[in-house]
Structures are given as C-alpha cells and as structure tokens.
C-alpha cells in the first residue's frame, strides 16, 4: 500500500493501461501537452506520444463520437471530458450511440469506451460549471456508471472500466483530485458493480457515493460521539446498476436509512435508492427513510447561497437525528 492522491491514482491507472495495450488511447481537451486540467494524464503525452494521448479540439460530441467509432474497430479509448457540464454536449453520442449500439445491432457491435468527467460543485464556479450529471447517465440502459469516492477506487475502477466490454461513465468530483488515500502497490481491478460497507453500525445506514460518502463518514463520527448512534456507512460506488442486494442487506441490519447526494432531489440517485427501499425492504424499515439533497436551483455564485444550496455532513446528521425522536 502507498499513499497517493486521487489524481495520482488516476494517472497511474492511465499509465498502466496505456502500457498494457497499444490500442488504449486517451483523449480530451488539454490532456496531452498540458497534462490535463486535473493532472490525470500528466507526463503521458511525452511517454506515449500524440497519436495515443490526444489533445482534442473543443468538440465534445465530436470527439466522444470519434472515440466510440474507434472502439468499433478494437481501440479502447479513455475520454476525458474536462467538466461534466460540457458532457451535456456529448450526451447525443453517449446515449444514442454508445449505450444503444450493442442492443440495436443485436449484439454485433459494442462501444467499450470509458468516459471520465468531474462533476459537482466546487467553489463559486457558478451555475454552468457546477452540474452533477450522474443521475442523467444512470438512467440510460446500456451504460455503466461508477463514481469513485477515494484514490483506491479511482485507480481500480478506471482499470476495470478500460478492460470491460461495456461503455462506462466515471463520475469524478472537482474537489476530490487532491484527496489522499491508500492504493495497493500491486495491480488491482475494482468491481464495477456492488457497494462497500465503509463503516459498520447497527442503528442506521447512511448511503452515499463519491463526495457524499465523506459527509456520511463525518456524520457517523458525530452521531456516535455525541448521540450514541452507531451508523453504518455504505459507499454506492456503482450507480448503474445499483446494488439492490447490498442496499437491502444493510437496511435489514439497521432498519433506518438516509441517502445523501450532492445533486438536486428530483429524478436522482436518492429517488432511485428510495424506490429500492420501497421495493426491496419496505417492511425492514422502522422509520420513513430520508433523502439529503441539494436545493432545486441552478447553483448560485454567491458563496453563502452556494453553501446553502449544497448539503453537508450537518444535513446528514440532522436527517439521521430526525429518525431518532428524543435524541435531538
């Protein structure tokens, strides 16, 4: 094990996969000569050359489609979209081609591409640079969606995504690239399905993914220390398909549940997890589960307003406490 930052873990996975297979390519805006906005491809242009570490024009739908077309003839493209806000422009190729081509060709053709992109609200980037799109992509049949919450997952999920025959969307977060964590020294492939119990507890489950896993972990500490509530924290690193069994098993252990997401509530990850509670483990629940979500607004620029729009560990704590009357 060694400690590394999230971006370093991504860079290592890119490097290993480029080294492993000459048909792996990386493409995106400023990822080559400039080394990538978040350094995920730093130094790889010099190592693998312009044919394989490709600085693209600012043509999101175009270069995503190019990557998909290349994947039709055996290339394994890792496509970086600089910010998820720009991935809206590529939804045509992602949704209409990558996700559907296996099905509509009756299994003849597949698009084994990886698309990585940071979403989320950073600091005062304004409404057009603060989107979260995981809810959009997780609703698309034929697409896998994963979202690493730490460097180990960032490394291992990218490794598996490159090797997997399906198109995979990797949802990262602008605020997490400098996060440190342990990554195994040996090569490692993280499962693209499932979920992980990252803290055990018997009283309530806090479900999170990507950045909200960290709010849940902070909340669990406070709940334990100040309120004597032992929370289990489950990391839903796979958003599509969601781990129905894992969700059900945890609720069966704790009988209370919170789902925390950074995005707005409507038609979101939380909504989907709530539906799973309902369908899979309704009678296990001792109290109605609660969603912790962003305000349903375009993200404001003003610092105070921005903070008010986005949930935090505090909101998770408050939501959890609401399920324990008498503990407030």
């Amino acid at each position: 094990m060694s400690q590394m930052m999230y971006w370093e873990a991504l860079r290592r996975a890119h490097d290993e996969e480029l080294g492993n297979d000459p048909l792996v390519i990386v493409m995106g805006e400023d990822i080559g000569v400039a080394g990538g906005t978040y350094k995920a491809t730093q130094g790889l242009y010099d190592k693998y050359g312009a044919e394989r570490v490709i600085d693209t024009p600012i043509s999101e739908n175009g270069y995503t489609g190019l990557g998909i077309g290349a994947s039709f003839v055996g290339v394994k493209p890792i496509i970086e979209i600089m910010s998820v806000n720009f991935a809206w422009l590529a939804t045509d190729q992602i949704v209409n081609t990558a996700a559907k081509v296996r099905y509509m060709s009756g299994g003849q053709l597949t698009a084994p591409i990886v698309i990585r992109s940071p979403g989320g609200t950073a600091h005062q980037l304004g409404a057009q640079h603060s989107a979260r799109m995981e809810k959009v992509f997780m609703g698309i049949a034929g697409l896998r969606v994963v979202t690493p919450s730490n460097p180990k997952q960032a490394y291992g999920l990218l490794k598996s995504a490159v090797r997997c025959a399906d198109p995979v969307f990797i949802n990262e977060h602008e605020l997490m690239y400098n996060m440190k964590g342990e990554v195994p020294d040996e090569e490692f492939f993280h499962p693209l399905e499932g979920s992980e119990v990252v803290r055990q507890g018997r009283d309530i489950t806090l479900f999170g993914y990507n950045i909200s896993v960290h709010w849940c972990l902070q909340a669990a500490e406070v709940l334990s220390r100040e309120h004597g509530i032992e929370a289990e924290v489950v990391d839903l690193y796979a958003l599509s398909p969601l781990d129905r069994e894992g969700i059900k098993a945890s609720v069966a252990r704790t009988h209370k549940a919170i789902i925390a997401e950074e995005a707005e509530a409507p038609v979101g990850v939380g909504a989907e997890v709530m539906a799973i509670f309902n369908e899979e483990c309704f009678f296990e629940l001792d109290a109605p589960p609660v969603r912790v979500s962003a305000a349903n607004v375009p993200i404001p620029y003003n610092h105070k307003l921005e903070k008010a729009a986005i949930p935090s560990a505090k909101d998770v704590i408050a939501a959890a406490l609401s399920l324990f009357p008498g503990k407030h």
Partner: protein, 349 residues
C-alpha cells in the same frame, strides 16, 4: 429556385466508361434494379403492416451507393450511413433476406429484430450501421478511421449521409478532426436536395455541399449522382486519395429520392414538374439505355431480368422474412450489456 446546382463534373471524361467492363455494368444494372425492387417491395410490406415504424426508401438514389461501393473494397472497407440504409447494407454483402427479416422484426434479421429499418448492422461485412440521429455517423466514421490508422492496415472508412445532415455540428467537428489528424475517411454526401420537406435553399446557406469541405481544407468534388459510371469514376479517385494516406475526402453526389422522406411523408412540398425532371434521369434507365445503345443488352433481356428479380424477392426474400421466427420475449433484456464480463466483478487476477 435552383433544382439542381451546377455540377462541377469532375472526373467524367469520355473514356471513363472504360473503367467498368460490360460484365461489371450488367451486374451493376442488376444490382440497382434489385435495389429498386427491394425498396418498392418494402413499400408494399409497409402498407400491408408487415413492416412497422419509420421506413425510408432509397428509390432514385441507387447509383450513389452502388457507384461508390463498387469502387471500394467490399468486406474490407468500413461503411456506415443514416437510416436510409437497406441498400448500402446489401451492397456491402448483407443477405437481402436478413435485411428484410430485420424490417419484419424477426429473429432472422441482421440485428435479430432489435434494430429495424433504420438500424441495419452487419459487422461481418463491415457494414457498421444505420443510425437514426441526423449527423450521428460523422464522428463515428472518423473514429473508425482513427482506429484503422493506428492499426496500420489499408482499410478506409466510408460514411454516407444526406445533404441536410451537414447542418449538424458533428459535420464540422468531424471534418475538422479528420483533417487535423489526416484520417482515412471518405465522406459521401447524397444530396437529394431535401431534408424531409425542407428544400436545401431554405435551410442551407451554401447549397453546393462540396464547397463546405473547403472550410476544412479537405479536397471535394460534386458529381452527377444519377449516373453510376460517373459516381464510380469519382469514387475511385476519392478512394485512391484516402487509401494512399492523403487524409479525408468529400464526395458530393447530386441525386433525388422518388418517394417521400419516409412512409409518413406525403411529398406535397415538391412540384410535379421537379419530380418529372428527375424521373427522366433515372439511374437504372441511364445505365440500361447505355447498354442497349452499345448493343450489350436488349430491352427484353432487361424485362426478363426484372421479372426474375421480382420473383426472387417475393419467393426468397419475403418468404424468408415471413417464416423467420419472432424474437422470444424471454430474451428482451439480452444485448443490453456484455454477458459475464469478468471485470464487472473486479477482474481475473
């Protein structure tokens, strides 16, 4: 209104007719006639409700796909197009019975009934698909070209699309990328002067589509798309250019569709006068008459051929499609994701 922009008829010298042998021309005539009869039979099958959804027919435009693909290496080069795709697939080597079965939504179809008319795929013959989003294939075709260049073979990527598709952003994004990376892709614009019911001069600032390629410094020509020999000659040059590593090329073919845009289109926006002008330039008649004039064919031979084709389509193609089973409902969720992919569970080591 300009019904037919002035042709920059390059590559059509008199002796170009020598490029194709009489045998080849007769085969091409048969193929184009087969295509026409195939499409017209689809029309009937649609009326009979054997075919559902959207159905876009290629009648009138046969010389485009046949001329270009005759100059390509079939089964070697990669081809894709829009939703008007049956004939491109067949010329690439797809079994017409499987294409018809696909239109019938049957398990014996090219895509096991999952695709339909707009989504014919036949990867074994390197027909890489029919796509229903206007402009969708532009970047896919550059991507195939990128892969081909990386792998170092001499295959090329050929992308057929309509005139109106050129108003999509993907046209510009893709031509730009094809040029900056010098990728082996041939764009074939089948300019039939309409995007559904909107005539080109009402939607498009520059009506001669080949001129638009100049913005990306891509060589381009415009030729008569109704004369298969002209198309063949132009395509041969274009393909030579692309195959020898000179980067992309843009070929504009002036053509006309006889039917409405799709089966739900009444065609009311076109004048009878315009239609009859184009009917006089029917691609099958042009080649037939030329072969009759050179005494390589008689009218009765042509009629015999036509009769045989109609029978073949009825007995073999429609017969096959009728008899092919429906997909099983139990298989509804097949082909969404890869089956048993080891990396889904964290791989093998």
């Amino acid at each position: 209104m300009k019904v037919m922009p002035g042709f920059a008829q390059q590559g059509v010298a008199e002796n170009d007719s020598e490029l194709l042998s009489v045998t080849d021309k007769k085969r091409l005539l048969r193929e184009m006639l087969y295509a026409r009869r195939f499409e017209e039979r689809c029309y009937e099958a649609y009326v009979e409700r054997k075919i559902g959804g959207f159905l876009h027919l290629y009648s009138g435009e046969e010389a485009c796909a046949h001329g270009v693909l005759e100059a390509a290496r079939i089964g070697h080069d990669y081809v894709m197009t829009s939703y008007r795709d049956h004939i491109h697939a067949i010329k690439c080597g797809s079994d017409p019975r499987a294409v018809m079965a696909e239109l019938f939504g049957k398990e014996g179809g090219t895509c096991k009934g999952r695709g339909g008319s707009m989504h014919i795929f036949d990867v074994a013959h390197r027909f890489m698909g029919g796509y229903a989003l206007v402009g969708g294939p532009f970047p896919l075709a550059v991507g195939i070209a990128k892969g081909l260049k990386m792998k170092g073979g001499d295959e090329i990527s050929i992308c057929f699309l309509g005139d109106a598709a050129n108003n999509q952003g993907t046209f510009h994004e893709s031509l730009n990328m094809a040029k900056i990376w010098d990728l082996p892709v041939l764009y074939v614009c089948e300019n039939n002067l309409y995007g559904i019911g909107t005539r080109i001069d009402r939607s498009t600032a520059v009506q001669d589509q080949y001129k638009r390629a100049a913005a990306y410094d891509i060589p381009a020509v415009q030729v008569d798309g109704q004369d298969v020999e002209v198309v063949y000659a132009a395509a041969k040059k274009a393909i030579e250019h692309v195959r020898s590593g000179n980067g992309p090329y843009f070929l504009e073919l002036m053509t006309y569709r006889y039917r409405g845009h799709s089966m739900s289109d009444s065609n009311a926006y076109r004048s009878k006068d315009e239609e009859s002008k184009w009917l006089k330039r029917d691609p099958i008649h042009i080649l037939r008459n030329r072969l009759i004039d050179s005494r390589d064919l008689t009218l009765s031979e042509f009629k015999e051929m036509d009769k045989a084709i109609i029978e073949e389509i009825e007995n073999e193609v429609i017969g096959f499609a009728e008899q092919s089973p429906e997909p099983r409902v139990e298989d509804l969720e097949k082909y969404v994701l890869a089956e048993n992919d080891p990396y889904v569970h964290g791989g093998v080591n």
